[in-house]
């Protein structure tokens, strides 16, 4: 699949296809996907291409089409030393207003983008999750607020990598 600029015609078509696929699956598996979630999924297309890019800067560009500036209003809670690279708890929160998404990247992973969260109006700009880290690396949190990108980063030491058995 090719990466397309958000909002392009090509993308819209793909979204509809994906929505249709979800509905079809629901029909087969007896899973109760209504029309609303299909549409919701359509509004939040899975950014497949951005997850396949190497390096933090390129991944941010692929995901958002712009660059981020550092901000001390983006707070990240991550361990100094991860107990195991397979399960690294990372939380991001911000005091910025009008947040629409939060993404987390691990610079040294094969593909930097780990997770990206859509924050609709009414949802707190705060998320916690658990990520895999191949080795010691900077972890970068990106907050999209008011159409701009803000970032924070922290080094997490990994001595038992999360990519082995």
């Amino acid at each position: 699949m090719t990466y397309s600029i958000p909002g392009s015609v090509d993308e819209t078509r793909r979204l509809i296809l994906k929505g249709a696929a979800v509905v079809a699956l629901a029909g087969l598996g007896g899973i109760r996907f209504g029309l609303a979630p299909a549409l919701a999924a359509a509004n939040d297309k899975y950014p497949e291409a951005a997850f396949k890019v190497k390096g933090t800067d390129d991944a941010i560009k692929a995901l958002y089409g712009k660059t981020a500036e550092k901000s001390d209003k983006v707070k990240m809670d991550a361990p100094e030393i991860a107990e195991n690279g397979a399960v690294v708890p990372i939380a991001v929160t911000t005091t910025l207003a009008d947040v629409t998404s939060i993404s987390i990247l691990v610079a040294e992973n094969p593909n930097a983008l780990a997770a990206s969260y859509t924050i609709p109006a009414g949802t707190m700009p705060s998320v916690a999750n658990r990520l895999k880290m191949a080795k010691t690396s900077n972890v970068i949190a990106i907050v999209e607020a008011g159409g701009k990108l803000y970032s924070a980063s922290k080094e997490v030491k990994v001595t038992v990598g999360g990519c082995g058995g």
Binding site: A36, F51, P110, Y117, A128, N129, K132, G165
Partner: protein, 103 residues
């Protein structure tokens, strides 16, 4: 088959805190099995949380999210007894969904 989704949603005041744990291998595609062959990537791509028919949180995940992924967030609104719907779909098109009552 038990659901792959565990959710705890608790309302306090005007916010609802949601924690979810999903049973999924989240194979990255970079790990070899005992025989030395690469285990093909198999990971959840998108999780949607809905309250009152509207998405309150959407997670896009790559293979770097840990096995049996966990996520926590909070949203405004949501009363005790309200339903929260969670659904996920992975890169092989497998999906599951579940509904939890806000406590």
């Amino acid at each position: 088959m038990a659901s792959t989704i565990r959710v705890r949603a608790t309302s306090s005041g005007d916010t609802t805190e949601v924690q979810a744990l999903i049973q999924h291998p989240m194979d990255s595609g970079f790990v070899k099995n005992a025989a030395g062959a690469l285990i093909p990537p198999h990971f959840i791509q998108q999780v949607t949380f809905e309250h009152g028919g509207k998405p309150v949180f959407v997670a896009d995940w790559g293979p770097a999210v840990s096995k049996d992924p966990y996520v926590k967030f909070s949203f405004k609104g949501g009363k005790k007894g309200d339903e929260l719907k969670i659904s996920w779909v992975d890169n092989k098109g497998v999906s599951d969904s579940s509904t939890a009552k806000i406590q």
